[in-house]
């Protein structure tokens, strides 16, 4: 069970990420100064540090520093990793619209951890190296898909603004080619991780009684993950079949992330 202090730290962290999103919105509306930009970096840094502190306190309380052992842990890890990946991208190849769409996802993850993280502690039946690989790859995949969904949303908005001939507004989001490239890279990495996560996850079948295996395979978690895998396979298909280029790739990336979000929720509630 997360303590009040851990939850408070998460809520402050979520508030700071929300401030980042608000600053990104200001920037998108054309009201941005150097001070706001520096403020975003400061908020992001403090927010990540607070979330990590909450994780450390939670692990210390639990008596185990092995990551992803319960739902609270998992959701905070997801939020922290997403925050760090976005910070890395913004540092190396800044994308105007990324914060605007990625920060709300981080906020939702942190709020979910704060409010639902303690509801259903995960009960892993199979403690093995395979399970560790499964967990790391599955969660890594979710982070990559979240960034892909954020860049895809930015792509759709930038494309729409260019079609409406709103150059200055489109410029604040990012160039289409850059957004498409980051999206493709993130989907490639996420797809590889999800594939490994799915394959290693099937190891769980050995721990499921024989008469429940069909039911387990048809569970929402497995079904949604398999559909998401197919959707992302279509996205990766774009260079071979360019009909999927541009808008369709962006829409599929967002759709895939919604399915993956369903998987995360299913994992949270153990369905």
């Amino acid at each position: 069970m997360p303590t009040l202090l851990q939850i408070a730290l998460l809520l402050i962290s979520a508030g700071l990420f929300a401030a980042c999103a608000a600053a990104a919105l200001l920037k998108d509306r054309g009201h941005s100064t150097n001070m706001v930009a520096r403020g975003v970096w400061m908020c992001r840094g403090i927010a990540i540090a607070l979330a990590i502190l909450s994780l450390i306190l939670h692990s210390a309380d639990r008596g185990s520093f092995w990551p992803l052992e319960d739902n609270f842990d998992a959701l905070v890890w997801l939020a922290v990793m997403l925050g760090i990946v976005v910070a890395y991208i913004q540092l190396r190849h800044p994308i105007g619209g990324l914060d605007l769409f990625a920060a709300p996802i981080v906020v939702l993850m942190l709020l979910a951890a704060a409010f639902f993280g303690s509801n259903l502690p995960r009960d892993y039946h199979l403690y093995s190296a395979w399970l560790t690989v499964h967990r790391v790859c599955s969660f890594g995949g979710v982070v990559m898909f979240a960034v892909a969904a954020a860049t895809s949303t930015a792509w759709l908005i930038s494309n729409d603004r260019l079609r409406r001939k709103q150059l200055a507004a489109a410029r604040r989001v990012g160039s289409l080619e850059q957004l498409e490239r980051v999206n493709y890279l993130m989907v490639t990495l996420g797809f590889a991780m999800l594939s490994v996560g799915l394959i290693t996850g099937f190891g769980r079948l050995t721990a499921v009684p024989a008469d429940e295996r069909i039911q387990w395979l048809a569970s929402p978690k497995i079904t949604l993950a398999a559909v998401a895998w197919l959707v992302y396979a279509l996205v990766l298909h774009a260079p071979i079949n360019p009909v999927f280029r541009g808008k369709r790739v962006a829409q599929l990336s967002i759709g895939g992330f919604l399915l993956i979000t369903g998987v995360v929720v299913a994992v949270q509630f153990n369905v």
Partner: protein, 436 residues
Amino acid sequence: MNHLRVLGLNHTTAPIDVRERLAFAPEHLMRLNSLVKDANPNAELIVLSTCNRVELYTAGTIIARDDLVNALSLLFDLSPQQFAPHLFEHHKQAAAAHLFRVASSLDSMIAGETQILGQVRDALARSVQLNSAGGVLAPLFQKALAAGKDVLSSTAISGGASGVAGAAVAYAKQVFDDFSSKHILSIGAGKMGLLVLAGFSRLAPGKLSVISRDIEKASRAAEPLGGTAYTMDDLQQQLIAADVVVSSTAARQPIVTRAMLERLMPRRRYRPLLVIDIAVPRDFEHAAGEIDGVFLYDLDDLQREVDRSVAGRHGAIDAATQIVERHLSDYFAWESQRAIGPTIDAIYARGNALAKDEFESFVDAHPELDAKSKDQLERAMKRLVNKLLHAPVAALKQAHHSHRPDSTPADPRDADKYLHAVQKLFQLDDDTPRAP
């Protein structure tokens, strides 16, 4: 301000044929430096020479205007009458304010151009190398550079398109990120189209081609830009290969229709296509812009963008002016503090020395005084000195701080008068810096 002065000419005072005859090469700079330094060893000199301006910043000592004009005349083999009428001159605060505006691009032909910052930095670096920038000009230029950086990074003054070609390139940069693999195609070899194409050539695209009905005309247009020439027969093939199309033919009817582009899109593998149609009447059917992946902008769209950009810059110029004024005010405060600091120290040193002399004479004349009484007397004399000097020092500080925007406006000359008066009244020795 220690005889700070700027003497020069720029795009607002002199035509280009005068400016180009005074363009400084490194050897001119060295020769001018020698000429000035030989006659005035304590002089500081920085030359800012760009295509739009030649400005000589001097400080440290008074150099006669005629000496500088004659030096320029000698250097460029011109008679003073050829350029002297175009010269402008500012002194002290006005000279500093001019440099801050120059470094912030507010004095440039196009406000917001970023090259000027590098040119000011280079001018300072060259003078430091020649040992001609000293205690007045070096900090002045550094603070002007800081103001320029602040303006360019904190305002939208350098953003936006400055012409139709600029707007076209800005749209292209929004669709594409890396131009090294992109193919830019110009349909038509007219003046306007080639102007836009030249804007794209600066992005170092992977391939550049020009299509025209007349292959020779196309070759003449393509060669200087390192491009390839084609005839109209190759139009469809080139439309398949191109990523950006600049169209500017004199055709009376659209030469590319929606149906034609739709047919070509699968062969293009649905790659995005940016079309800049600056022809009147238009070369591309308007409906072609509705195809997914085709971004079509005509002359009106580009002109609208230029108008928006110009309007946006006006707001940015106001913000930039405020930033420059803030930096300038900080510089004046720093400069005045630097000017009066040694004088204030000298006043107190003189007062304390007099008090010490009197104290020692008194103690020698009264050997019966115990240590405690001596200590009390010494403290009392120090307090007296501080109280006596407080009012004149405060007045001096007030006069100098009145340059700041948050204080009562006053004539800057008053500050120098106060400084001069204090130096005279207190008979400060020659080591103390004098009022300029």
